[in-house]
C-alpha cells in the first residue's frame, strides 16, 4: 500500500493543521478566498498555529476567522471594537502574533475611531480589512467604502463618496499599508506573509467582492471590475531567507529587496511603472490618483521601518505576562508599611 506523502512545513505541520471550520458564507464570497490565503500564508511561514490569535468584530468578515486556524485562539467580539480587544490582548503574550479581521462596516464606519487610534498606538498585528463596499449580514446597505453612485435594491443611489482605508491608515501613521484583491490569491498570500513578518501594525485593505449584494460588473468591489482593472504596483514576493530569493530574470535596477524585522525578506519586482513604496507622499498621491481615475492599484502601498510598538513603550519582562507567577505580582508588606507611613 502506498501512502501519499503529506507536505510538512518548517515546524512539521501539514496544511490541514491550519484549517478551520467549513465556511457558512455565500459560495463565491471573496472572504473565503482570504480565509484560504491566511491559512496558506501561516503554513508557509512555518509557524505553529498556537503562535497566532484571531480577533474580529461583527459582520460577514468578522465571522471568517472561524474558517481557518482552528488551533489559534479566536475572539469574535463587538461591532467595530476589534482594535480595542487587540489592544488589551497584545500585552498578555507578546510572542503571539495577532491577526485582526474586520470589514468595511466594522472598520470604516462604527469602528473608525478605534482603527485610527490602534494604528497611532502601533499595536503589533496584522489587520485585514475584508472590504466589499456593502453591509452583507444586514442584507445590502451602503457602507462608508461604497462607491458614490452605487445602486442597491432598497437603498437607491449612494450619494456619498467612499473613504479610502489605505489613505486613513497612512495618515494615522501606519508603517505597512497594502491593498490586495481577493481574486488575486498569489499576491494576497505574499502580502499576508510580509505583514506577519513586520514588527509593528500592518494594514491590508483587501477588496473582497460580495457576490450577493455588490457584484454588478461595474461596481468597484466586484469580481468583474477587479479582474479587468487590477493593476499590481509590482510583482510582490516574500522569502524566508535571502538565499531563497530567486534572482533569475531580474535585471539590475528592476527589483527592490527589503529585509523584514523577523529576518525574512520581501522582493518587489518592477512592472510597468516606477513606484517607490517607501515614499509616503507618493503613496498618498497614488491613492488620490487611483480613486480619481478608477485605477485599482494593488500591492505594498507604503512601507517604512516600524516605530516603537505599544508593548515596547513599556518596560515589560520578555516572558509572557499571562504566565508570570502570582508571587511576582503583589508588592511587599514593607511597601505597604511605607504607604501607610506616608498617609499618616
Amino acid at each position: 500500500m502506498e501512502t501519499k506523502a503529506v507536505d510538512l512545513n518548517l515546524c512539521g505541520l501539514a496544511l490541514s493543521d491550519y484549517k478551520g471550520n467549513p465556511s457558512t458564507l455565500c459560495p463565491g464570497c471573496g472572504h473565503n478566498a482570504i480565509a484560504a490565503q491566511v491559512q496558506n500564508a501561516v503554513w508557509e511561514l512555518g509557524l505553529p498555529p498556537e503562535n497566532f490569535i484571531k480577533i474580529s468584530g461583527i459582520g460577514c468578515s468578522s465571522k471568517s476567522p472561524n474558517y481557518f486556524l482552528n488551533r489559534s485562539f479566536g475572539f469574535n467580539g463587538l461591532h467595530g471594537r476589534m482594535p480595542t480587544t487587540a489592544t488589551g490582548a497584545c500585552f498578555a503574550d507578546s510572542s503571539i502574533h495577532i491577526l485582526g479581521f474586520s470589514g468595511d462596516g466594522d472598520t470604516a464606519s462604527i469602528g473608525m475611531g478605534h482603527f485610527k487610534h490602534l494604528i497611532r498606538r502601533n499595536v503589533p498585528m496584522t489587520y485585514i480589512i475584508e472590504n466589499n463596499g456593502v453591509y452583507g449580514l444586514t442584507k445590502g446597505q451602503f457602507s462608508a467604502t461604497s462607491d458614490q453612485g452605487l445602486v442597491l435594491k432598497h437603498q437607491g443611489v449612494n450619494m456619498l463618496p467612499p473613504l479610502d482605508m489605505c489613505m486613513e491608515a497612512l495618515i494615522s501613521g501606519a508603517t505597512f499599508v497594502a491593498r490586495a484583491y481577493s481574486g488575486d490569491a498569489k499576491q494576497l498570500k505574499e502580502l499576508i506573509k510580509a505583514a506577519i513578518s513586520q514588527r509593528g501594525i500592518a494594514i491590508i485593505d483587501v477588496i473582497s467582492p460580495c457576490v450577493t449584494f455588490n457584484n454588478k460588473d461595474d461596481a468597484l468591489q466586484s469580481y468583474t471590475w477587479g479582474r479587468e482593472n487590477e493593476a499590481p504596483l509590482h510583482d510582490f514576493k516574500h522569502y524566508q531567507t535571502q538565499k531563497d530569493i530567486d534572482m533569475e530574470g531580474f535585471a539590475p535596477g528592476t527589483f527592490r529587496e527589503i529585509k523584514m524585522d523577523d529576518g525574512t525578506y520581501i522582493v518587489m519586482k518592477k512592472l510597468d511603472k516606477d513606484y517607490d513604496p517607501t515614499d509616503r507622499n507618493a503613496a498618498l498621491d497614488l491613492l488620490t490618483e487611483s480613486y480619481k481615475n478608477k485605477y485599482f492599484a494593488t500591492g505594498l502601498i507604503y512601507f517604512s521601518e516600524a516605530t516603537a510598538t505599544i508593548q515596547e513603550r513599556y518596560d515589560l519582562p520578555d516572558e509572557p505576562m499571562n504566565r508570570i507567577g502570582s508571587d511576582r505580582l503583589r508588592p511587599t508588606q514593607a511597601m505597604l508599611d511605607e504607604i501607610n507611613r506616608a498617609l499618616y
Binding site: T84, P317, N322, L329, L343
Partner: protein
C-alpha cells in the same frame, strides 16, 4: 431643610474638638495645600477629621468650598451648617455667612468688603492678609498660595492648635523639600504670631490634643482603590479620563513604577494605558482579561453608559474584568463634581438580555483598598465582570480611615489551566461545567497545547465555544451563568451590622457606601433620643442570607441612600420580596453627601407616620 436659626450651641463653655470649618475661596487660587495642612494637623492631634471639597465643574474663577469637620466623637460625615467660616472670596462672602448659626465665627480677609447688612450675631475676625504678605519675602508667583498659609496660622492660633503641631505637619507634607517647607511654615508662623498678638478670642471653639490615632491614616478612596488594585496583582488597566474617577487611575500611575517591579527581572508587571474613549477602555480591558491578565478600568456613570455593550460581552463570554464606578450625579452630564448613589440599579442589570452582575460596595476608604485587591480575585474566580461602586464623596474627599491591611489571602487566579493541567481533564470544553458549580475551566492565549484553543464569541455558543442556536443549549448556558453568580454570594463581602445596645429593636437602618459616617452618627444620636436601631451596611450584591435575616428581624427597615428612586430599597424589595413591606425608602438627591441631620429628621418623621398608622 435645616434652618441655621434653629441651631443653638448648648451651654456657655468652650466647645472642644467638635466643629466644622468651611474655607471659601476661588477655585484655582491654590488653597488645596493650606486646607491639607489644616486638616492633617487636626488628625495629627488625634482628633477624627474629614475634609470635603465642594467644588465647581471648572478650573479657575468660581467659588469653591473646603469643609473640614473635626469630631472627637468620630462624627465626620457632612454637617449641614458651618460653625466657622474662613472667607477669602468676595463673590460668595455674603452667602457664606448664611450657613452659620448664631455664635458662629467668621475669619475673613480684610480686603473683602463687608456686606451692608452684616449679621450681628456672629463673631468676626478680620485678617490683614495683604498687609501681612508685604512683610514676608516670598516669590511673586507664590503670593496667592502663601496668603492661604497665613489663614492656616491665624485660624490655628485662635482654635488653640499648638504651633509645633502645624510645623510638624508642614515638615511631613513637604518631605524632601526643606526650603519649601521652611517658606510655608514661615508664613504660617507669621499668621500665628500676628493672631496671638492681635486677636482677642471671643468665640467658644477650641481644640485639645488627644492620644495619637496611630492605627489610622488620612486619605481618599480613589487613592486607596488604585493602590489596592496594584496590591491585587493588577496587570492591565485601560481608561479614559472622567471626573470623579480620574484620580483613581492617577494614583496608580503615580505609584506603579515603585510598587510593581518584578522581583525576578526588575521589569514592570503592570500596564496602564489611556485610550481614545470608554468603549476602547472597556474593550481593551476585556481583551487583556481574556488574554489572562488581571485587568480593570475605572470610570463614572457616563463612561459606564458607553461601556455597556462591552460589559454584556464580558458577562456572556465569561471574561474576568473589574470596573470601578466612582459615581457622580446623573442623568446625563448631570453634576460632574457632586456625589450620588444613582448608578446602582443600572449596574445591577447592566446590558441587554438576561444580565445581572456582582457589585462590591466599599463604605470606607480602607475598604476601597481591600476591595481593590479582592475584586480582581473575585473576577478571576467567577470569570465575570465585577463592579466596585463608590462615589465622589468617598473617592475624592479626605477621610480618617484604618491603615491599609496587607491582603490576608493569596492571589486567586481562578480556573486558568495551562498545557499540563489540560492533559488531565477529559473532554475539556471552555464552557463545560465540569465541577458542577457553574464555573468552567479556561485556557488563555499562548497555551501551546493543540487542544487549548477555542473560539470566543458573543453569539450563542455550546460548551466548546461552537456556534449554536439550539434553544435548549441557550437556556442551559444562561442558567449555568446564573448558577455561577448565585454561588458567588457566599464569597462576597458580607454586610456589616452595628447592633443597638438594646435587644430586639424594631427599627433597622440599611445603607451602603459613603453614607456610613452619617448613618453611624444618626444611629448614635437617635439612641441618645431614645430611638434604638440596628444598622446594616450592605457591601455587595446579590444580597446574602444575612441581609434577608436582618430585614426579617426588624418591623421597619429604613433604607437610606443618595438617589431619587431609592434604588437599593427597590433591589432589596425584589430580592427579599416576602418582607418587602418591612422596607421603607428614605432617599435624597441634591449632589451633597448625606447628613445625620437629614437622616434623623427623616426617620423621626416616618416613625411619627408609622405611629399614626398604628393608632
Amino acid at each position: 431643610m435645616i434652618e441655621t436659626n434653629q441651631i443653638t450651641y448648648p451651654g456657655d463653655g468652650p466647645i472642644t474638638n467638635e466643629f466644622c470649618i468651611t474655607i471659601c475661596t476661588v477655585n484655582g487660587s491654590g488653597s488645596a495645600t493650606a486646607n491639607h495642612i489644616l486638616y492633617r494637623t487636626f488628625f495629627h492631634m488625634g482628633i477624627p477629621t474629614s475634609g470635603k471639597n465642594i467644588f465647581p465643574s471648572n478650573i479657575k474663577g468660581l467659588p469653591t468650598f473646603f469643609v473640614i469637620r473635626v469630631s472627637e466623637k468620630g462624627y465626620t460625615g457632612r454637617q449641614p451648617h458651618d460653625d466657622i467660616v474662613v472667607a477669602m472670596n468676595q463673590v460668595s462672602f455674603e452667602k457664606d455667612m448664611k450657613y452659620l448659626p448664631s455664635g458662629g465665627v467668621v475669619f475673613y480677609g480684610d480686603h473683602l468688603v463687608m456686606p451692608e447688612e452684616a449679621r450681628t450675631d456672629l463673631i468676626y475676625y478680620p485678617m490683614p492678609i495683604k498687609a501681612l504678605m508685604k512683610e514676608i519675602e516670598v516669590p511673586r508667583k507664590l503670593v496667592s498660595f502663601m496668603e492661604n498659609m497665613l489663614f492656616v496660622g491665624i485660624v490655628g492660633q485662635v482654635l488653640g492648635v499648638p504651633e509645633e503641631a502645624l510645623e510638624s505637619t508642614v515638615l511631613s507634607h513637604f518631605t524632601g523639600k526643606p526650603a519649601v517647607a521652611e517658606s510655608n511654615f514661615k508664613t504660617i508662623k507669621a499668621g500665628y504670631e500676628w493672631a496671638a498678638a492681635n486677636i482677642v478670642k471671643k468665640d467658644r471653639f477650641t481644640t485639645k490634643k488627644l492620644a495619637p490615632m496611630t492605627d489610622y491614616i488620612l486619605t481618599d478612596g480613589n487613592n486607596a482603590g488604585g493602590i489596592g488594585s496594584l496590591f491585587g496583582g493588577l496587570q492591565y488597566c485601560s481608561w479614559y479620563p472622567i471626573t470623579p474617577a480620574t484620580s483613581l487611575v492617577e494614583a496608580m500611575i503615580d505609584s506603579v513604577d515603585q510598587l510593581r517591579i518584578d522581583p525576578v527581572t526588575g521589569k514592570k508587571t503592570c500596564v496602564i494605558l489611556q485610550v481614545e474613549d470608554e468603549l476602547a477602555a472597556m474593550g481593551a480591558a476585556i481583551g487583556a482579561g481574556w488574554g489572562g491578565l488581571r485587568s480593570m478600568t475605572a470610570t463614572s456613570g457616563p463612561g459606564i453608559s458607553l461601556m455597556t455593550e462591552n460589559i454584556g460581552l464580558a458577562y456572556f463570554t465569561e471574561t474576568p474584568v473589574v470596573i470601578w464606578d466612582v459615581q457622580r450625579v446623573g442623568p446625563s452630564t448631570g453634576l460632574p463634581t457632586r456625589t450620588a448613589q444613582g448608578d446602582l440599579s443600572m449596574l445591577y442589570y447592566l446590558g441587554h438580555g438576561d444580565t445581572s452582575h456582582i457589585i462590591l460596595i466599599p463604605g470606607t476608604v480602607t475598604e476601597c483598598f481591600e476591595f481593590g485587591w479582592r475584586s480582581l480575585d473575585i473576577a478571576e474566580h467567577f470569570q465575570t465582570p465585577i463592579f466596585v461602586l463608590t462615589d465622589l464623596d468617598l473617592g475624592m474627599n479626605q477621610w480618617v480611615t484604618k491603615k491599609f491591611e496587607y491582603p490576608n489571602a493569596p492571589i486567586d487566579r481562578g480556573r486558568i489551566i495551562w498545557e499540563d493541567e489540560l492533559e488531565n481533564i477529559d473532554g475539556w470544553g471552555r464552557y463545560k461545567d465540569i465541577e458542577g458549580d457553574g464555573i468552567p475551566y479556561r485556557t488563555v492565549m499562548g497555551n501551546k497545547s493543540p487542544k487549548a484553543s477555542y473560539f470566543t464569541r458573543g453569539t450563542g455558543h455550546n460548551e466548546f465555544g461552537g456556534y449554536s442556536e439550539d434553544p435548549d443549549n441557550w437556556s442551559r448556558l444562561l442558567y449555568r451563568i446564573e448558577k455561577k453568580l448565585k454561588g458567588a454570594i457566599s464569597h462576597l463581602p458580607s454586610p456589616i451590622i452595628t447592633r443597638s445596645k438594646e435587644e430586639d429593636v424594631e427599627i433597622g437602618i440599611i445603607g451602603m457606601g459613603s453614607t456610613d459616617d452619617a448613618i453611624r452618627e444618626t444611629q448614635e444620636r437617635l439612641a441618645e433620643m431614645g430611638i434604638h436601631t440596628d444598622y446594616m451596611r450592605v457591601r455587595s450584591l446579590p444580597s446574602s442570607p444575612t441581609v434577608r435575616e436582618f430585614i426579617a428581624s426588624h418591623a421597619r427597615n429604613y433604607v437610606l441612600e443618595l438617589n431619587r428612586d431609592g434604588q437599593l430599597c427597590e433591589i432589596l424589595s425584589l430580592e427579599v420580596s416576602e418582607y418587602s413591606q418591612k422596607l421603607i425608602s428614605l432617599s435624597e438627591i441634591g449632589g451633597m453627601p448625606m447628613t445625620a441631620e437629614w437622616a434623623i429628621e427623616s426617620i423621626i418623621n416616618q416613625e411619627r407616620k408609622e405611629g399614626k398608622r398604628g393608632n
